[in-house]
Amino acid sequence: MHTVFLILTFTHLIFSSTVLDGYIYYKYDNDLLAPPCTRLVNATHQIGCSTGAYPKSGTLFELNTDSDFDFVMKPGPHSPYIVLIHLPHYAKDNILKLEASPYVAGILVDVINQPDGLDSFSPQTECPNMAGFQKNDCHLNPDGNSLDFYDFNEFPIFSINDQTILSNLQDCAKSNQYISGLSYVCSVQLTSRMYASVNTEVCTRRLDYVLPQFTSSTSYCSPLQGWSLWGTLFPLKENTNYNNTENGIILIAAQLDASAFFHDLSYGAEHDLSAIAVLLGIAEVLGKLKRNNSINDTGNPIVFAFFDGEEWQHIGSSKMAYDISKGKFPLFPDIELSHQGIKHFIGMDQVALPSNQSWYVHSTPSAQNDSEFISAFQSSSQLNNISFTFLDDGLNLPSTMTYFSHFNANISGAIITDFNDTFNNRFHGSFLDNAKNLGINTNPNLITDLQILCKSLTESILSISNIKVDEAIDKSCNESLLTQILDCFLVNSSCPLFSKVSPPDLPASSGPVSRYVSIQTTTSLTSLITHNLLAYFIGDREITVSKNCSVNISPTSKSLYRTYFSQGPNYNSSTMLGVCVNSTVYFYKAISPSVELNSFGSNSIYSTWAESTWEEPSIWIYLAANNYIYYGEFMLGFAMTLVTLIVSIIFTVKASMIFK
């Protein structure tokens, strides 16, 4: 019975944590404070990091100098090590060197201290995000080191994005300074268990017989998915078949998501927030002109699109292009659109770092032969004293237009960029593509460049869509709006612009917005806010109380209009007086057509990227003892037990003699 009691006590204790644990460990389970590198799979590979089934632990060692690097490569009494590195040492060679060493068990990267004058860092490839049917031999991104696509199996890499955690780590590392002589060393244990492995085909096989309570979900990975949004300046005309260039649409697109080696740090300032800001600026001007009745619904429909999931082989745009080819877009009963019905496709990618206000228009052959198209851009560039240079590599640039051109090789379109044949962005696809390196505080020309581009494009777009507008009307974009968009997304998302366009129940957030697409079943903050911004700018507004604004943003509604209530610039929570927005802006699920076609093998031309499901990642910091201490304790316990056993046996056997 005593044994039963013992067994019950033990089994209870094993699964709980004690009060003493609070004095042993610093436990950090919040993956927003210290985002790890996680695992993704595609048709052929697994990429990213995982610790495997068991946590990885080691003595904490801070690397500051080159001799520190040499130290951790050698065995020692306290190896293996978990190393803390700072940004000057954050380079592909160093990371791979550390990963290859058997004495290093994991890496922590301090991403808080960003010194000036950092060299380039781009974990993307040199020819990033090419679709399978494009030529893959470009050097658009010469700084690319492909670190994103490396498989760090059983090797965790965490970023440290919180000053408290960093201070604790640095104190811990400091106490390890004279490491050779210590009996107790400060150690770190990293847990980041990823369930997916091999490739997407293997891990999407559902294992229904695994008990749900032992895994976080019933599958080991899920295809990346997000929410794109699109909207029309004027509502699409019912009973219309948009199938030729006469009545075709003008589709203007930007990429909504971003990526980084640490997914929760995907700020994507130049790529592609710059384009999002310009596109929203254009939308705001056109919306204003519409509301002033300066323009009418006489020309080609202007359609704005923000595609989500683009970083992972163009998930959002491929989905829309696929649906158009199947006649499933848009899903309004009396409206049809085919690829031939896209008169012009204008994409924007990386527009904030031009030299001398010169932008490049990477066009398709059809567009190069379209004199009206070219003259529209030339006239607006002359008007605004900037330069648009036409290049003919539009079909071979990875962009939101890529899959549209796959379905219609004659598509007339162009991608507007600030680069010719190599990116101006030295931090493409990195968390360092942020406010600081975009130059929000250091580049005096940033906003003026974006503003003048925005104005020029507005004029070009009005021209190519044959919408007549009075020359005298000012089509300048709002500089303050551009500044606010950049600030809200890149610096602090708790800002008046976001509140203005959102309902009162907007979830609170702070700091910069990470725009990694992830697996969104409900809309992320990015998709939601961009939808709200677009709708607020191009929709109709009415100042009402919230209960008089009937909310309808359902994707299945047959009506073309969507309504929602936003706070407006002067929201008062007691009167509930805000702005009722009635717009033709829609959410659109961004999920790879591979999911629908259920083909995740290497013969699928669509994105096969899937994200692994995982156990809660965590960092534990604690003191660990030298191995000899553990052996000594075991010897002591063994000896004590053995001695007592022997003595008690002797005394029991000789009891009659001893006790008389």
Binding site: H2, L13, L20, I24, A625, E633, T641, T652, M657, K660
Partner: protein
């Protein structure tokens, strides 16, 4: 070294007591019964001292407040076990198990097991993880779990001579000897208060010295013969003598 260190600490804390009890108590079921009953009575004393701890919230962080009450309650419980074991033993049929020192031994063992389990099992669970105490908390030091284990072993084993001495004093009504147990218990427990603030050595040394001294004392009380003890190596095991303990 997670499970490994847990096993080491379990061996240190519970190994000697487990070995002792396995060897000496297996013989009669009545001995195990006495152990269980006395363990439960110890548990009641723990419950009552926890009520005192709960009663004054601001003093909950100061072990020095609850400690004397806890010791007094345990000793009162020990006296109660004396009464109960006497009553229970009258019902035993086997004369061997009615031998009073054997009863005292089992009672003390019961107390020791219960007190050892509650003292250390929680800490043992913490030793399953990769870390040792010492990083956080101004009072913490790396040898915390080892010291806990050693003290648990000492206390578990100490309850046996404490019970033997107390039961003997109660039986022979030698009231002067009665106070050896509570006073030495109180002194030892108070010395452990120094562990986190000053140093660990007073309580550890005192515990094992006290263990040695009281074992010898209890041995003498139970009628042990020192001279014969020294001769056990030279004499052979007597074959037909009854195994009275």
């Amino acid at each position: 070294m997670t499970v490994f260190s847990c096993v080491s600490y379990a061996l240190i804390a519970y190994g000697p007591a487990t070995a002792l009890i396995l060897v000496t108590q297996y013989r009669y079921a009545e001995q195990v019964l006495i152990m269980l009953v006395c363990g439960f009575i110890w548990l009641i004393s723990l419950f009552l001292s926890s009520l005192i701890w709960t009663a004054v919230p601001p003093l909950r962080n100061i072990p020095a407040f609850t400690l004397p009450f806890s010791v007094i309650l345990q000793e009162l419980a020990r006296c109660i076990t004396f009464i109960i074991t006497k009553k229970l033993s009258n019902k035993f049929s086997n004369p061997d198990t009615r031998y009073r020192h054997q009863l005292a031994y089992s009672a003390g063992a019961g107390f020791g097991v219960a007190s050892g389990l509650f003292m250390f099992l929680n800490v043992l669970k913490s030793s399953l993880g990769p870390g040792v105490v010492g990083l956080r908390g101004s009072w913490s030091y790396p040898q915390f779990i080892l010291t806990s284990a050693l003290l648990t072993c000492a206390f578990t084993l100490l309850h046996i001579p404490w019970s033997v001495i107390l039961f003997d004093a109660c039986y022979r009504r030698k009231w002067f000897l009665l106070f050896i147990t509570p006073i030495s218990h109180l002194i030892l427990s108070s010395l452990t208060l120094l562990n986190s603030s000053i140093t660990v050595w007073p309580s550890l040394l005192a515990a094992y010295v006290l263990l040695l001294v009281l074992t010898v004392l209890a041995f003498k009380t139970a009628g042990g013969n020192f001279i014969n003890t020294t001769k056990i190596c030279s004499k052979k095991l007597p074959r037909d003598s009854p195994s009275i303990q």
